[in-house]
Subunit: 237 residues, 2 copies
């Protein structure tokens, strides 16, 4: 790896592989299960409120989601939900954990092109074992020098990660689908951010902030455009 | 830190702070909740079987335990458990996550004595956010250079950790209450192990293996004896 090598961080869910589409399917089955009691909008709104209330305690990931889904179902049915239906919710959670990993289009080619030249990291949040399992199943693990599964992706946790790996933020670029978790904190610390939107964004990751014009911010339609952007950006360093 | 500095790994639950006593109290309440249906031994045995069956999928920690407890309760009551009782199980899980952190006797003094001379790491497993929260609440975080929350503590994960931190196993000593997770894999890799038993051991951490006589294995009654053992061991290096 040359002295010109950069450190590239990659978010995992909805950046390397599909994730939100799996949650979306689960939400549909959840609405059906509760359709006798409430309309879909009420179900969605109440579940989201429970998730946000529990986020500090549970953190991100499927297990916390499943517990929040059970709690919400008990609340929305005023305790009339049956044990059998709660077992269905546990099974929905299990299905999510066992779901095959579907790597996004262009990811394999892009990682293959970049991993010889630069230091690549996975930087994600969620349940520890679930994220490790998905990375193993994705077949992408060999491209990455380190995998960082964080309990939160904010300025503090990126700063700690930079110290841990002796990363110069000026030579760090983060690729991800979430402006809130992948781009804004990295830009604030002096790094570069490449936003590759996924077609669905979880409500908790949506931000109102208009991203400032910055020579360190890029928005791509596909991760396939990453090598070209890298050339542009690294020439400016 | 001198060139004679060693790397000392500390397990967290039941090594730095009390944990199994909290699970024990929860088990008591769980048995009471199901006492109308089954005797305590059946409840314990069935819950443990569910936990072991789900371990690969859920990993360690309170959230997975709570999901297994709900699943077991539905099974043991043939679906007759009420939504209100399931909500009580969710609350039990929440109580565990919110439980105050009770640092074990002698830990503060021992870490204070050692952290100036050696490199100290926390090496634990469990839910990411839960373990981070407990470390923050314990007031012990400043003693440690790194915190490693692993999805499993076996030879493979210790070997990866040694590579990640450039640790020479011959100069690494692990302190913990579990022979299975803290001692045997480290001895196998050429490190030293200090076993400080806790008065309760979770069934999944029990091992039949008689620990081989080894000049790298020590068993202490209290972590207070650690500095003395360290002198003995490091003199042999």
């Amino acid at each position: 790896m040359s002295t010109r090598a950069l450190t590239l961080g990659f978010d995992a869910d909805d950046t390397l592989w599909h994730n939100e589409v799996i949650f979306e399917k689960v939400h549909e089955r959840y609405r059906e299960l509760l359709a006798r009691y409430h309309d879909a909008a009420t179900v969605d709104r109440t579940l989201f409120a429970t998730e946000m209330r529990n986020l500090e305690l549970y953190g991100y990931g499927v297990k916390g989601f499943t517990l929040s889904a059970i709690e919400t179902a008990i609340q929305l049915t005023a305790g009339k939900i049956s044990a059998d239906e709660i077992q269905q919710l546990i099974s929905l959670g299990r299905d999510m954990l066992e779901h095959p990993v579907d790597v996004l289009d262009g990811v394999v080619e892009t990682l293959t092109a970049l991993s010889g030249q630069h230091r690549l990291l996975v930087i994600t949040k969620g349940d520890l074992r679930d994220q490790e399992r998905k990375l193993a199943r994705s077949g992408l693990a060999a491209h990455f020098q380190h995998v960082e599964i964080l309990s939160e992706k904010d300025e503090g946790s990126y700063a700690a990660l930079f110290r841990r790996h002796a990363i110069d933020p000026a030579r760090f670029l983060m690729v991800g689908n979430s402006l809130k978790s992948d781009i804004l904190p990295v830009l604030a610390l002096g790094g570069a951010g490449v936003h590759v939107p996924y077609h669905i964004t979880w409500a908790a990751e949506r931000v109102e902030t208009a991203t400032q014009a910055s020579s360190r911010f890029f928005q791509l339609k596909s991760v396939r455009e990453l090598p070209e952007i890298l050339s542009t950006w690294s020439a400016s360093l």
